[in-house]
Every structure is written in structure tokens, then in C-alpha cells.
């Protein structure tokens, strides 16, 4: 990334209706914005509200445009930028498969323990670890697993929420 490009985490509350995710994603592709990760699920069935968390990157002016363009989308109720407000907690979950035997296998398990990653599938020649944390922590864990027999990675993308008692 060049000097003035920043990574930001945005959360978008939307009416959960057909096509709203396509409209949000289409806005990013149509206007040439980046999506580094995207997480979406309904969070309130009664009010049919879904929550989309997007990690994006751009210059501060581009990030401001992204927020404003999201605000224009009719079914979008609210947009929050956790990076600029610094009031949020960001977490991501990943499932990481490592195959190997002998010392490498033992080392993988030791590392997993240090990262509080937990084996959720075990065979004589492999582990699947579940790890939760900030994306940077997951990046580090994946880097450490690489020489120990990393074979597959599945990441959820970031979910974010505000600190303290208030809703978004």
C-alpha cells in the first residue's frame, strides 16, 4: 500500500431484502473500491436487519466517499467506520488445516496453544485449528504454520462491534 492508503473496517446496517448485498457489493466494484473482506448475516429477524462488515482500503478521501456512497443506498440504515472512530472491536475467525508428522506436528500444536487456537479436527497426520482474533493475529498464525505443513485456510472476514454499552 502506498503511504496515504489506509485500511478501514466499516459496518453497514441494512434492511434484509433481496438484492441489498448485491447493491452494496456492486457499489464497490462499480466505483472501483477495494473489498479486502466481507461478512454478512441477518442480526435481527424481527426487524429484518442484516449487518455487513467490510474491510476496505483507500486514501482518506476515498474512504469518506465509500461511506457517503453507502449512505445513499436506499436500504442502508447506518454506516459506521470503526477505524476512524477507534471505538470498535474487530474479530475474525479462521479454520486452518495443517498436515504433517513428527516434530513439525508437535511444533504446530505448541504454536496453536500459544495462539489459543484449538484443534477441532484431529487425525494422525493433520489438525484443523480454529482461531479467533484480530486479523493481524490470524495472519501471524498462518505465517507460522506455513513451514509446518499448512494446506488450507478458511477465514470468515472481520466482524466488528462497538465498545461500551451502546448499540451501533
Amino acid at each position: 500500500m502506498s503511504a496515504d492508503v489506509e485500511r478501514h473496517t466499516l459496518t453497514v446496517l441494512v434492511d434484509n431484502e433481496a438484492g441489498v448485498l448485491a447493491r452494496v457489493v456492486g457499489l464497490f466494484s462499480g466505483r472501483g473500491y477495494n473489498i479486502e473482506s466481507l461478512t454478512v448475516a441477518e442480526v435481527d429477524a424481527a426487524s429484518r436487519t442484516s449487518r455487513i462488515s467490510i474491510v476496505t482500503s483507500g486514501t482518506p478521501a476515498v474512504i469518506a466517499q465509500i461511506e457517503a456512497q453507502l449512505g445513499r443506498v436506499v436500504p442502508v440504515r447506518k454506516v459506521t467506520n470503526w477505524t476512524s472512530t477507534r471505538g470498535g472491536i474487530e474479530r475474525e475467525m479462521a479454520l486452518i488445516k495443517v498436515a504433517g508428522t513428527g516434530e513439525k506436528r508437535v511444533e504446530a500444536l505448541r504454536m496453536a496453544d500459544a495462539f489459543r487456537a484449538r484443534p477441532v479436527d484431529t487425525t494422525h497426520t493433520s489438525f484443523v485449528f480454529e482461531i479467533t482474533g484480530a486479523p493481524a493475529k490470524i495472519d501471524s498464525f498462518i505465517d507460522l504454520m506455513r513451514p509446518l505443513g499448512l494446506v488450507d485456510v478458511s477465514r470468515t472476514g472481520v466482524a466488528a462491534i462497538s465498545r461500551g454499552p451502546e448499540a451501533m
Binding site: 438484492g19 457517503a68 436506499v74 447506518k78 454506516v79
Partner: protein, 598 residues
């Protein structure tokens, strides 16, 4: 950006519920929304709605000859009345043919409701006959769109569609209705019972921002108003308030292509249009001002020229109803996100209440500078005794029609710029042109829509011979509905603006811009049942124009003009406002970076 998070409560039922078929609901909803005209084309997937229309006498349906024509006609209708335009087309090609018009309406913020038929729900996704993913295709060219899969959601969706199309920043919406839903019966909700659950555009200005704007205006030494289509879209009251604000302040005013008519061209404060083909005085005032008051415009690339050289010394106020326009292209010092009528009303009130005075001494010097720029007479041209100059043709058209109730539409290109530069508009909603998308073929069907709304007005499409051929078939529509539109073709036998750019940027290599194999427009007019007229010399022009005006039928006027005339003044691509060319003699080397621009 906050919106209310609560669901709108379901309305209390007023008496017995109304049960209708989906098709009947469409007609009922249109009538409940005050719709009197729709522009459409039937087909398999909308037959039930056309059947309901057949049984109804309250709505006039205008049968176009191509769905693109339906959308442009609806745009012309909407722009000239302030009411939303309504389009009814079938599935598949009916919907895809509408896409250009929808994109045009999105770019120019025109309120449209397009109703598209869709294959029955059980066939969706099977590549059925005349099936296409209409909501997928139209998502990027609508403000919002819906596929209605339950007849009991249909009336709510239709009413929400009207609300969304016409409020906030207006725009086109699409309601896609599968054929089985059109046949099914369900409960109809009247508009009063429907409120979108989250859509609430912000329209009230922040009083602090208004007060600050008034302060900045009172302190300004070299101010200029730069207004746009937002003033037109806000309604005639916004134009009135704008005039009052200009009177109170005495500031000069210019406008974008889309904003022409909001301020009378006859008033002394008027500088003419700004931008790529704007006047010398408008662009220099923009460049040298110390305060720019942008009202309902969006700093389009055709307005700014080179952004890093755009009005370098000014503070900028930006009023827009769409928050995403603020700081998008140009950083501004004060943003007001609000409806233009409300914001202008507040500005006028605060200016009066605080007994503000413009800096009269500074303004005197500023006006002296402006008058010096005016002295360059940037719209002047060398007239000819033998050839009709296109500028002369527009001037004569203006002079011979200015006392009538005249509405002008245009196609896209040189003729459009000459019309914008030279036709003097005194009132809003009388100028219909494709600004943002630049759609050749817009003007003829738009004129059809305007004439439907204003049967007694003089509606003229100032056209080019290339553009007009794109939607020529709508002459047939004009004949069918007795619409006496005048299609005034500045026929220079070239895609003139393309040729002009090829001359300036591509070494005079006129690649495929010559209009070869042109039809005989007079014979073609006659074939359609219109009147064809032709003028070849300046001497016969006035007589022919007067004849055109007097004919109570659609007229196709083949005005043969100088084929090599270029449109000046011009800010070459990548240049600044103070680097305008007034004529070909100015040279005008375009930078390599400029050549990359459109």
C-alpha cells in the same frame, strides 16, 4: 447518515380490505399516485397490465416505437412538469432496451418509475423466453429496484417506488413484476398506508451552516453563484428563491448545462453557462473568485476542467441534497446537505434578518472585471452570406420563437452546446437535455414526452443529423398522438463533436465521423406523415423557421449548416478555466494527459 431504525407500523385498515389482481393494482396505484400519462410498449410478460389498462379510461398510454424512446419520453415529461415519469415495458428485451434511458435518468436525477414485466415466478432462473435478470441488470442504473414475488407486497412496493423516485435526490426506480403475480389476487394498500421502513432523506439544512454561508457571502470580495440541475429538481420555488438571493446579494451567477433556466438569461447578473463550452466570463469568474457558492451542482469534469487548477483561490460552499457529492471531486469549505428550496429559503431569511450587506465596493471592482471578460464576446462567430452557420441558425430559432411558450430538447454533441450557449432560457423546466450520460437520441423522444404534457406549447428538439437517427422511429409516435413537435436538425453531415475532437486531438483523421448515406430527411418526414422542410442558405432560413412554427404537425427541419464549424469557446481536456480557446486561431495544444480524458 443515521436513519430511523424502527419499522413503520402497519397502517390501520380503513374499512374492508381492497382485493385486486396484481395488474389492477398497478393501474390503481398509478392513479392513486396521480399519474395521468405512461409511456410504454406491450409484450408477453405485461399483457395482464395492458389488459387492465384497456379497461381503464383514467390514464393516457403513449405507445412508443422502442423502449429507449419510452424512457426518454418519460424523462422529458418529468423534467418539464416536475412530476415523475412512468414507463411500462415487457420482460427481456423490453427491459434491456430501457437501460440506456434509466442510466440517463440516474445521471441527471430524473424521477422515473419503470414497471417491467417478468416471466412467471416458476420460470425465473430457467432461461425462459424473454427472460433476463432485470433487477440485476438495472441495479447499477437505478436508485432502487425490486422483483415482486408476492402479490400482497405489490402495492406497498409501488408506493415506495414513487416515494423513492421523487424524494431526496430524485432518480429512476424499477419494479419488476412476474406475469403470474399480475394475475393473482391480493390486498391493495392505498398510498397513505405505506411508509418505507428505513428511507428518510435528510432535507432540512443545518442552521449553523446556513448562518456561516451567509457570513461568508457578506464577506466575499469576488463571489460567484454556480448552480446546477438540483435547483430545477427542487421545484420552481427554488428558482424563485435563487433569483431573490441574487437580487439581495448582487453577485454574478453562472450555471451548469443542467441548471439552465433556473435563473433568467436576460438578467444582468447572468454570466452564461460555465464549463468546457461555457463563456469566457463564467469560467474566468469561476477561476478568479474568492467565494464560490455551488447550489445543486456536482463539480462534473465538464465543469471543473483540470481539478488541481480549479478555482485555486476560492473558498467554496456546496449545497447538495446528496451527501456523497460533498468533497467527491473538489474539497469544499462549507457543506450544506439539504433540499435546495429549504436551504435557499433559509439563506434568504437569514440574510434579511441579519440585515446583511454585500461588500459593495469590492463587488464594484469585481463586476468591472467581469465586464472586461464579457468584452471578449466569447460566443461571437464569423457569419457567412452563403452558408448557414449553426450558431446563426440557433440565434434565429431563438429570436423567432422567444415570445412563444417554447420548450427545447436536444440530442448530444455540438448542436447541444450551441443550443445551451445561445438559446436564452428565462424559466426552469423548459430545457431538456442529456447532461450526465450524454445520450445521443435523447431529444426526439424527450420532445414527445414534453409535448404530451404541454399540448399547446412549442416543443423543439434542436438536433444533429447523427443523433436524431438513433431514435428517429419516435416520429411515428408523434404522428399517432398528434404531437406537433419540431425536430430542428443542424445538419453538418458529421458527428460534429467527434469530428471537432479528431481535428484537435487526432491530426484531422476523421475516422468514421462523416455521416455517409444520409436519408433525405424531407422525404423521410413525409413517409412518416410529418412535414419536411429544408433550408440551405441564410436568406431562406427565417421564412422556413416561421413556416415550421406555423405548421400544426410534427416537422422535420433539415437545416444544412457549415460542416466544418467548431464549437467555441472550449476548455481543452486537461486544461484549466483560464486556459480557454476562443477560436481555432488560439492554437490549443492538448497535453498528453488531456488526450487521455474524454
Amino acid at each position: 447518515m443515521d436513519k430511523d431504525n424502527t419499522l413503520a407500523p402497519a397502517p390501520a385498515a380503513q374499512g374492508a380490505p381492497i382485493t385486486l389482481t396484481g395488474a389492477e393494482m398497478v393501474i390503481r396505484a398509478l392513479k392513486d399516485q396521480g399519474v395521468t400519462h405512461i409511456f410504454g410498449y406491450p409484450g408477453g410478460a405485461v399483457l395482464p397490465i395492458y389488459d387492465a389498462l384497456f379497461a381503464d379510461e383514467g390514464i393516457t398510454h403513449v405507445l412508443v416505437r422502442h423502449e429507449q424512446g419510452a424512457v426518454h419520453a418519460a424523462e422529458g415529461y418529468a423534467r418539464s412538469t416536475g412530476k415523475p415519469g412512468v414507463v411500462l415495458v415487457t420482460s427481456g428485451p423490453g427491459a434491456t432496451n430501457a437501460v440506456t434511458g434509466l442510466t440517463d435518468a440516474l445521471m441527471d436525477s430524473i424521477p422515473l418509475i419503470a414497471i417491467t414485466g417478468q416471466v412467471p415466478t416458476h420460470l425465473i432462473g430457467t432461461d425462459g423466453f424473454q427472460e433476463c435478470d432485470t433487477v440485476g441488470i438495472t441495479r447499477p442504473c437505478t436508485k432502487d429496484n425490486w422483483l415482486v414475488k408476492d402479490v400482497n407486497n405489490l402495492s406497498r412496493t409501488l408506493h415506495e417506488a414513487f416515494q423513492i423516485a421523487t424524494t431526496g435526490r430524485p432518480g429512476p426506480v424499477v419494479v419488476d413484476i412476474p406475469k403470474d403475480i399480475q394475475f393473482q389476487k391480493g390486498v391493495y394498500l392505498p398510498p397513505a398506508g405505506v411508509q418505507h421502513r428505513s428511507y428518510k432523506p435528510k432535507t432540512d439544512p443545518d442552521p449553523g451552516a446556513i448562518a456561516r454561508a451567509v457570513e461568508m457571502m457578506a464577506e466575499a470580495k469576488r463571489p460567484v453563484f454556480y448552480t446546477g440541475g438540483g435547483i430545477i429538481n427542487a421545484g420552481p420555488e427554488a428558482s424563485k428563491l435563487l433569483r431573490e438571493l441574487v437580487t439581495l446579494t448582487g453577485f454574478p451567477i453562472t450555471s451548469t448545462l443542467m441548471g439552465l433556466g433556473a435563473f433568467p438569461a436576460s438578467r444582468p447578473e447572468w454570466l452564461g453557462m460555465l464549463g468546457m463550452h461555457g463563456t469566457w466570463e463564467a469560467n474566468h469568474a469561476m477561476h478568479d473568485c474568492d467565494l464560490m457558492i455551488c447550489l445543486g451542482a456536482r463539480f462534473d469534469d465538464r465543469v471543473t476542467g483540470r481539478v488541481n487548477a480549479f478555482s485555486p483561490g476560492s473558498k467554496k460552499i456546496h449545497l447538495d441534497i446528496d451527501a456523497s457529492q460533498i468533497n467527491k471531486i473538489v474539497h469544499v469549505d462549507l457543506a450544506i446537505v439539504a433540499d435546495a428550496t429549504k436551504a435557499l429559503r433559509e439563506m434568504v431569511q437569514v440574510w434579511k434578518a441579519k440585515k446583511k450587506q454585500a461588500d459593495k465596493a469590492a463587488l464594484k471592482d469585481w463586476w468591472a472585471q467581469v465586464d472586461q471578460w464579457r468584452g471578449r464576446k466569447s460566443l461571437a462567430f464569423k457569419n457567412s452570406d452563403t452558408l448557414i452557420k449553426p450558431q446563426y441558425a440557433v440565434d434565429r430559432l431563438y429570436e423567432l420563437t422567444k415570445d412563444k411558450d417554447v420548450y427545447i430538447t436536444t440530442e448530444v454533441g455540438q448542436h447541444q452546446m450551441w443550443a445551451a450557449q445561445r438559446f436564452k432560457f428565462e424559466e426552469p423546466n423548459h430545457w431538456m437535455t442529456s447532461g450526465g450520460l450524454g445520450t445521443m437520441g435523447y431529444g426526439l423522444p424527450a420532445a414527445v414526452g414534453v409535448q404530451m404534457a404541454h399540448p399547446d406549447a412549442l416543443v423543439i428538439d434542436i438536433a444533429g443529423e447523427a443523433s436524431v437517427q438513433m431514435t428517429m422511429q419516435e416520429m411515428s409516435t408523434a404522428i399517432q398522438y398528434n404531437l406537433p413537435i419540431k425536430i430542428f436538425i443542424l445538419n453538418n453531415e458529421y458527428m460534429g463533436m467527434v469530428r471537432q475532437w479528431q481535428q484537435l486531438l487526432h491530426g484531422g483523421r476523421y475516422s468514421h465521423s462523416y455521416s455517409e448515406a444520409l436519408p433525405d430527411f424531407v422525404k423521410m418526414a413525409e413517409a412518416f406523415g410529418c412535414v419536411g422542410l429544408r433550408a440551405r442558405t441564410p436568406q431562406e432560413l427565417d421564412g422556413k423557421i416561421l413556416e415550421m412554427i406555423s405548421v400544426k404537425k410534427p416537422v422535420l427541419f433539415d437545416c444544412r449548416v457549415d460542416p466544418m464549424e467548431n464549437c467555441y469557446p472550449m476548455i481543452p481536456s486537461g486544461a484549466a478555466h483560464n486556459e480557454m480557446l476562443l477560436s481555432p486561431d488560439d492554437g490549443g495544444e492538448v497535453s498528453e494527459a488531456g488526450k487521455m480524458l474524454v
